[in-house]
C-alpha cells in the first residue's frame, strides 16, 4: 500500500508541475459549463444537472485518455520503467498508484464543477436524488474511462498513440449502438449491454441524450442500479488488469 501512495503522490505532483492539469481542468469546466448553461437557459427549464452530465461524459472520452496518456508511455520513453520494474515494486502497485493519481485529478475537476449545483440551489429547487446519483455515476464513469486510458498508455512509448487508442476504445464503446441497431436478437442485446454512455445518435437539445442510452442513463434519471455499477466496476477492473498484464508481459519478452 505504501508504494501505491508513493507513486500516486509523485504523479499528482507531476500533474501540477506541468500545464496539463490546468489546461485539462479549464477545458473541462468550459465544456461542462457550456452544456449546463444550455440546459438551464430555456424558459421553464428543469433544475437538473443533466446538461452538465452530458457535457462531462462526452468530454471524458477525450479527457481521460489525455490525462492518462503520459503515465506509462513516458516511463517507457525515458527508460524509467526499467527502474520501476527493477525496484521492489509489483506491477499492480505501479498501475494502481498511477490510476489513483489520475482519478484524484478527475475528482478535483468534478469538485471544482460543483458550483453548478450551487447555482441550481440558489435559483431553483433541484431534486436531490438524481443529482447525487448523477454525480455517483459520473465518478464511476470517470474510473472506467481512466482505466481504458491507462491501458492505452501502456501499449507504447508514444503518448499520442495512447491518446488515440484510448479515445478510440471509448468512442467505440459509446457508439456501439450504431452496430447493435443493425443487428437483432442476442447479438444486439449483448452489444447493447456494453454501451458506455449515451451515443451521439440520441443527442438532442432537450435531454442532451444523457438519459437516453447506455449504462449512464439510469444514473442521469436518478436510478442507481446494480447492473450499471457492476458494468463500470468491471470495465475499470478489466482494463487495469490488462494494464498490469501488459507490464508483466514486458518482463517475459
Amino acid at each position: 500500500m505504501r508504494f501505491i501512495s508513493v507513486i500516486a503522490i509523485k504523479e499528482i505532483r507531476t500533474y501540477f508541475s506541468s500545464p496539463m492539469a490546468y489546461v485539462v481542468s479549464a477545458a473541462f469546466l468550459a465544456i461542462t459549463g457550456f452544456f449546463f448553461v444550455a440546459s438551464v437557459s430555456d424558459a421553464f427549464a428543469e433544475a437538473s444537472i443533466r446538461g452538465y452530465l452530458a457535457g462531462a461524459i462526452f468530454f471524458m472520452i477525450f479527457m481521460s485518455p489525455a490525462l492518462t496518456m503520459r503515465l506509462i508511455a513516458e516511463e517507457q520513453k525515458l527508460g524509467t520503467l526499467e527502474l520501476l520494474l527493477t525496484s521492489p515494486l509489483r506491477e499492480f502497485e505501479i498501475v494502481f498508484g498511477k490510476f489513483i493519481a489520475a482519478f484524484a485529478m478527475t475528482l478535483i475537476m468534478i469538485i471544482l464543477s460543483l458550483y453548478f449545483v450551487l447555482v441550481l440551489f440558489v435559483y431553483g429547487d433541484p431534486d436531490i436524488g438524481p443529482l447525487l446519483s448523477g454525480l455517483l455515476g459520473l465518478t464511476m464513469y470517470a474510473c472506467a474511462t481512466l482505466a481504458v486510458g491507462l491501458f492505452a498508455s501502456s501499449l507504447s512509448s508514444n503518448q499520442i498513440v495512447g491518446l488515440v487508442v484510448g479515445s478510440g476504445i471509448l468512442t467505440a464503446l459509446t457508439i456501439i449502438d450504431f452496430v447493435s441497431a443493425r443487428l437483432s436478437g442476442m447479438a444486439s442485446e449483448v452489444l447493447n449491454a456494453f454501451q458506455l454512455g449515451a451515443s451521439f445518435s440520441v443527442f438532442d437539445l432537450d435531454s442532451f441524450g444523457v438519459a437516453e442510452g447506455g449504462h449512464f442513463a439510469d444514473f442521469a434519471r436518478g436510478i442507481v442500479s446494480v447492473t450499471d455499477i457492476a458494468y463500470y466496476i468491471s470495465i475499470t477492473a478489466v482494463f487495469l488488469l490488462l494494464t498490469v498484464l501488459v507490464l508483466e508481459a514486458r518482463r517475459w519478452r
Binding site: G79, P88, R251
Partner: protein, 323 residues
C-alpha cells in the same frame, strides 16, 4: 553474491546470451567487456530481474531472480545504460522518490540523501531540475539513485558512456571508490576503463563468455605474439628487416614510423624498429645476437606488453573466425 549457471536468453528466435556461467563473489568488482550487442545489457537485465532468463539459473545473494524477484530487487542498485531520469523533477525530489520506491522510509532517506549527494558531488545542483543538468551530472544523479538505498550489489551498464573526458575520469574515480563497499558488476566497451577499475574481467562476445581473468593475467595468457621495440645504429631498414626475418622465432619486422618521426631531429643515426616474435622463444636473445653479429649498434631492446585493447580485438576476431 551473483551466481549465473548455464544462463541463456533468447529474444524470440534470436539468442542474445548463450550458456553463460560465472560467479561474482562478495566485494568483487567485475568488469564486463564486450562490443556493442554482445549480450552485456541482456545479462545485466537478467541479473536485476528486469527480464527472466530463457534457460539456466541466476541467483543474487542466494535468491533466485525469477522466483524471488522482489528479494533480489531489494538488494540491487542498478544504473541502466540510458540513465533513467524524470526530467521535470529536481535532483532532491528525484532521489527522494527513488529512495521511497526502493522501500526506504522517510527518516532513512533524510539521513542518507545528504551523504550520497556529497559522495557524487551534486551539492550545488540539489534543487536544479534534472532536465537542466549536463550529461555528466545526469550520470552522477543516476549513480546516486543506484547507491542511495545501500544495496549489496551494484550493477552498472556503461556508466561512463557519452560524457566528456574530464567527467569520465571523475566518474571512474567515483566508481572505484564505490567498489570498496559494494559487490559490483560493471559493463563497458571501453577497455582502459575496465582495466583501471576492475580486478577481474569477463569478456563477452556474441552472447558467449570468451575470457574470464585478471586484466594482467588476461594479457599474459592471450599473448600470441611478443612485440619488441628495437633501436639500432648504422643499419639500413631493408637490410635490418631481412636479417630479422631470417631468425626462426621472429614473425615479422618493420620500421617504427611513429618513433622515427619523433626521434629523427635529435639522433639521425638511430633507426627504430618493431619486431613481432613468437612468445617464450627467447626471441630477444636471438635478435640481440644477430644485431651484434651484423656489426650494428644496439641501443634499445624493450618487450612491449599488449594492451587490453589489442587482446580484445584478438578475442573478438577469433570468435568471428570460428563461425
Amino acid at each position: 553474491m551473483i551466481k549465473i549457471e548455464h544462463m541463456s536468453k533468447n529474444y524470440g528466435p534470436y539468442p542474445a546470451v548463450i550458456d553463460v556461467s560465472f560467479e561474482v563473489l562478495k566485494g568483487e568488482i567485475v568488469g564486463f567487456l564486450g562490443p556493442n550487442g554482445a549480450g552485456k545489457t541482456t545479462t545485466m537485465r537478467v541479473v536485476t530481474g528486469f527480464t527472466p532468463p530463457t534457460e539456466g539459473e541466476v541467483t543474487v545473494g542466494g535468491y533466485d531472480v525469477v522466483s524471488h524477484s522482489l528479494e533480489v530487487r531489494r538488494h540491487i542498485g542498478y544504473l541502466p545504460e540510458t540513465v533513467p531520469l524524470y526530467l521535470d523533477m529536481t535532483v532532491n525530489d528525484y532521489l527522494t522518490y527513488m529512495g521511497e520506491i526502493r522501500g526506504m522510509n522517510a527518516s532513512w532517506v533524510q539521513e542518507r540523501l545528504p551523504k550520497v549527494i556529497d559522495m557524487v558531488k551534486l551539492g550545488e545542483y540539489q534543487n536544479t531540475l534534472v532536465g537542466r543538468l549536463s550529461k555528466g551530472y545526469r550520470q552522477r544523479t543516476g549513480i546516486a539513485q543506484a547507491i542511495l538505498h545501500e544495496p549489496d550489489v551494484l550493477v552498472m551498464d556503461e556508466p561512463t558512456i557519452g560524457i566528456d573526458p574530464i567527467q569520465v575520469v571523475e566518474t571512474r574515480e567515483l566508481i572505484s571508490n564505490l567498489g570498496e563497499e559494494h559487490t559490483m558488476l560493471l559493463s563497458s566497451h571501453i577497455l582502459p576503463e575496465v582495466s583501471a577499475i576492475c580486478k577481474r574481467v569477463l569478456v563477452i562476445n556474441d552472447g558467449r563468455i570468451v575470457a574470464d581473468d585478471k586484466p594482467d593475467d588476461l594479457s599474459e595468457k592471450l599473448q600470441h605474439a611478443e612485440r619488441i621495440e628495437i633501436s639500432v645504429r648504422g643499419a639500413e631498414a631493408p637490410e635490418f628487416i631481412n636479417s630479422m626475418r631470417e631468425i626462426s622465432s621472429v614473425i615479422d619486422a618493420r620500421s617504427d614510423l611513429r618513433a622515427s618521426v619523433v626521434q629523427r631531429s635529435e639522433r639521425e643515426d638511430f633507426s627504430p624498429f618493431i619486431v613481432d616474435a613468437k612468445p617464450n622463444a627467447q626471441a630477444s636473445e636471438q635478435i640481440a645476437k644477430s644485431i651484434i653479429e651484423n656489426g650494428w649498434g644496439l641501443t634499445n631492446l624493450t618487450p612491449l606488453p599488449m594492451t587490453l585493447e589489442e587482446i580484445f580485438l584478438e578475442l573478438t576476431t577469433e570468435e568471428n573466425l570460428d563461425e
